[in-house]
């Protein structure tokens, strides 16, 4: 049976390389193109802008990568961002810190709800989190009384506009969280168990792994990261707008994860790839806009890239047998 697989090895090898490194290669190619053909590309101001724009998506995508690693998906992240955004102005009167902590707790609770539905009740992740995708935004609008609230707290606004060592604070935050989640996956018991459970649930539970606890924790982390993204987005927007914040972020996050080489079938989490995936999607949008192509063109290019990424993943499932 093993010999049979030998013939298509060469093409399978190319595909595997593309799957694992394609996203980095695409970034290099696109960057080279922009360096030559795009005006004002290699300026600090432009890089800064692009990175700030990608930061909230990336933060959400980090949590999404973990959830997808367990063979799940979290559709509720955009709505959780809105909930966090709606909670902020309600408690800013008590100070920035309590308001942020409460927003994060709300994100964690949302994650716990998803986790309960998935790990304890046993509902499919796509359905379980769909409930909160729909209901969460409604809840956020209830919190905010359907209103957009302008933020006047300087500390919070500083998070959106402040800089540290020449780079925006938001970018530092996203980088720090990326590093943290990378360490979590690579070096902690939790991270290793998460990957194992995504790879083979049955084997993991027969090996005595705490499957429910790991799944629960994963969704909580995703919820908290979505809340962080909601806070960041609010700070940048200088207003809490629960009807707009986080719209369609679940799809951008899934895209970043998949393009970054994490298979939807679970069992593998690529955090660096996810960072690259988010950056690549942002670069594509920016490049096309700079060349006066409409946003819709960018969307179509992104769609093509998603299909390509999923196709490359598929070949992995086939080649693994």
């Amino acid at each position: 049976m093993t010999e049979v697989a030998a013939a298509p090895r060469a093409t399978a090898g190319t595909r595997a390389w593309l799957r694992d490194n394609g996203v980095y290669a695409a970034i290099v190619v696109l960057a080279a193109y922009n360096l030559v053909f795009t005006e004002n590309f290699a300026t600090m101001a432009n890089l800064s802008t692009q990175l700030v724009q990608v930061a909230p998506v990336l933060i959400v995508a980090l949590g999404m990568a973990l959830v997808i690693g367990t063979e799940g998906v979290d559709l509720s992240v955009g709505s959780v961002m809105a909930i966090a955004a709606a909670i902020l102005p309600l408690y800013l009167g008590y100070g920035v810190l309590p308001a942020i902590v409460l927003a994060l707790v709300a994100g964690g609770l949302c994650g716990a709800l998803n986790g309960t539905l998935v790990a304890v009740v046993g509902i499919q992740p796509i359905v379980a989190t769909l409930a909160l995708l729909v209901g969460g935004r409604g809840l956020a609008l209830v919190f905010a009384d359907g209103q957009m609230t302008v933020i006047q707290n300087d500390t919070l606004l500083g998070l959106g506009t402040g800089e540290l060592l020449g780079l925006p604070v938001i970018v530092w935050l996203a980088a720090a969280l990326s590093a943290l989640v990378w360490l979590l996956v690579k070096y902690t018991t939790f991270g290793r168990q998460l990957v194992a459970i995504g790879g083979n649930r049955s084997a993991s539970s027969l090996a005595g792994l705490p499957v429910r606890r790991v799944l629960m924790t994963t969704y909580v982390i995703s919820g908290v990261l979505a809340a962080v993204a909601g806070i960041v987005a609010t700070a940048r927007l200088t207003a809490s707008d629960p009807s707009a914040i986080g719209n369609l972020y679940e799809l951008s996050a899934i895209t970043a994860v998949v393009v970054g080489g994490t298979p939807l079938s679970g069992g593998r989490v690529r955090i660096l790839g996810t960072v690259a995936g988010a950056v690549l999607m942002q670069m594509i949008t920016a490049t096309l806009i700079k060349h006066n192509l409409p946003d819709s063109a960018a969307q179509m290019v992104q769609a093509a890239i998603i299909v390509l990424a999923v196709y490359l993943q598929r070949s992995r499932a086939g080649g693994g047998q």
Partner: protein, 505 residues
């Protein structure tokens, strides 16, 4: 005699496996024909050939005197060959009546479904078989047994000439079995040929007229059921030569008993609906206890129950005299009970992860401090077991999916041994691995037992159980038939226990 369906010299190959080779099967009108064989005998493949799921590579099918070639299940069904699978393949959300008439619903003069006629006819049909149900209820609200019978009645109602029943009684209560047999009698009287697949010898002798025995994809025997003694049937299924076994029966087996020692594992009264019925297993340190039984006897279920992987209705498991919480793998592991699962691919390995991660998987919490995995401790334990079990991998970083079956099995054993177990439950430890690796695994199990581990061994290979075990607990239909000890651990005694007629009890 009029053959309804005759399969001649059937051969079927899959990549790397010959599933069937030169198999003949003739089904006559008005007979119930038993098809028996152990795992890998080729029963399922043969059924799939007869029902059009597979097209045979060699051989011919003659149906009602004509040469046929089924390329899809639909062809066979349309011709009148009906199959009732182990898991009922009907539409659970629709009513009983709709299921009975699925695909051939009565219509009224507007071409719309005539529900009234459908319900009346379905009700009448089921009544005539002694199945009393409200035919308007969704099928899934009924018990598995009734669902099974609806499926059989449906097959009978489609004017089938051949009905294939695959393990029809595995989820039935004794009373339901009687009803099912009454339906089968009706089919027989109507001249239908019934192919009956089951491992329950009592049922075969009760209902079947003729029997065909397969082993390793080949035809072993075909003839009248009544002419075949039970012992001979079991011997054929297991591929043993009865005369030889009886001659060797006197041979003394070197049983190494840890007599006098307190048992390390005591499982008693293990019960789970339709699967286990009060199973007791006791293992002393250093003892290898084999589980004997035909397919479906409850061997895997027994070790799964002990390992906490099968929820129990009742029963106790004690390790070293301490009772543990059943139904929890983690609790069993903490107590020192670990299990090697039967299906290495589905329940064992993580093919995309490395050898290192696969070995360390269960022991991760023990190798971690403050939630961080200690790379040093992990590497040292992985290195120890890779050497001890002689795991052949390019490096600990190699993907387990790339290893040979034997080495994958050793990786799984290493995973279990990392937990420093007291009791090792091995479900088919040498299935699907090459001869060399097999000997190594067997030697290793012996060695572990000598070191004082209690071992429970399941193997579909007769010799492996008999030669490897100090005692054999023989199971049938989820119950313990007998426990063979000492000199009684031999092939003849095991065969006799397997063939024993439970109605004599």
């Amino acid at each position: 005699m009029d053959a309804v369906l005759a399969a001649t010299a059937i051969g079927k190959r899959f990549p790397g496996v010959v599933a069937l080779s030169d198999v003949d099967l003739t089904l006559r009108a008005g007979e119930v024909h038993a098809l028996v064989g152990e795992n890998g005998a080729g029963k399922s493949t043969l059924i799939k050939v007869l029902t059009g799921v597979y097209t045979p590579d060699d051989g011919t099918l003659d149906y009602l005197g004509r040469r046929v070639r089924f390329t899809r299940p639909m062809d066979a069904q349309a011709a009148g060959i009906s199959t009732v699978y182990q898991e009922v393949n009907l539409v659970p959300l629709q009513s009983v009546a709709s299921n009975v008439f699925l695909g051939r619903e009565p219509r009224n003069r507007f071409g719309l479904l005539d529900f009234r006629a459908m319900n009346a006819q379905a009700s009448q049909l089921l009544d005539s078989y002694g199945i009393r149900v409200d035919v308007t209820r969704p099928l899934r609200t009924l018990g598995m047994g009734v669902q099974q019978m609806v499926a059989v009645a449906r097959a009978a109602a489609t004017q089938a000439r051949v009905v294939v029943l695959d393990e029809p009684t595995s989820s039935l209560e004794p009373r339901e079995v009687d009803t099912l047999f009454a339906i089968i009698e009706r089919l027989r009287a109507d001249g239908v040929a019934v192919l009956y697949v089951s491992h329950r010898l009592d049922e075969l002798y009760r209902i079947c007229d003729r029997v065909t025995v397969l082993r390793d994809g080949r035809l072993v025997h075909s003839g009248a059921m009544a002419d075949l003694p039970r012992l001979k049937l079991v011997a054929m299924m297991l591929g043993r030569d009865l005369e030889e076994v009886q001659r060797e029966g006197a041979t003394k087996f070197e049983g190494e008993h840890a007599a006098g020692q307190a048992p390390v594992l005591e499982a008693s009264g293990l019960s789970a609906k339709h699967r286990l019925d009060g199973v007791d297993v006791t293992v002393r340190p250093g003892e290898i206890v084999g589980l004997g039984g035909l397919l479906g006897a409850g061997r895997s279920e027994t070790v799964m129950a002990i390992a906490g992987a099968l929820p129990l209705d009742s029963g106790e498991v004690s390790v070293g005299g301490k009772r543990l919480r059943t139904g929890s793998v983690a609790a069993a592991m903490r107590a020192g009970v670990v299990m090697l699962p039967e299906d290495r691919k589905a329940d064992g390995i993580l093919p995309d992860l490395s050898v290192r991660e696969n070995i360390a998987l269960a022991a991760l919490p023990r190798l971690s401090a403050a939630g961080l995995v200690s790379r040093r401790r992990q590497d040292s334990i992985v290195d120890t077991f890779m050497k001890r079990l002689r795991i052949k991998a390019a490096s600990p970083d190699q993907r387990v999916g790339e290893l040979s079956g034997g080495n994958q099995q050793k990786v799984l054993l290493a995973r279990l041994l990392c937990m420093q177990p007291k009791v090792l439950l091995l479900d088919e430890p040498t299935r699907g691995i090459d001869v060399g690796a097999k000997a190594e695994v067997q030697g290793l199990v012996d060695e572990l037992a000598k070191d004082g581990l209690g071992v429970v061994l399941i193997s579909s290979e007769f010799e492996e159980v008999v030669e490897g075990s100090d005692a054999i607990v023989v199971l049938r239909e989820g119950k313990v038939v007998t426990r063979l000890e000492g000199d009684d651990v031999n092939e003849a005694a095991l065969l006799a226990a397997l063939a024993e007629d439970s109605r004599d009890d």
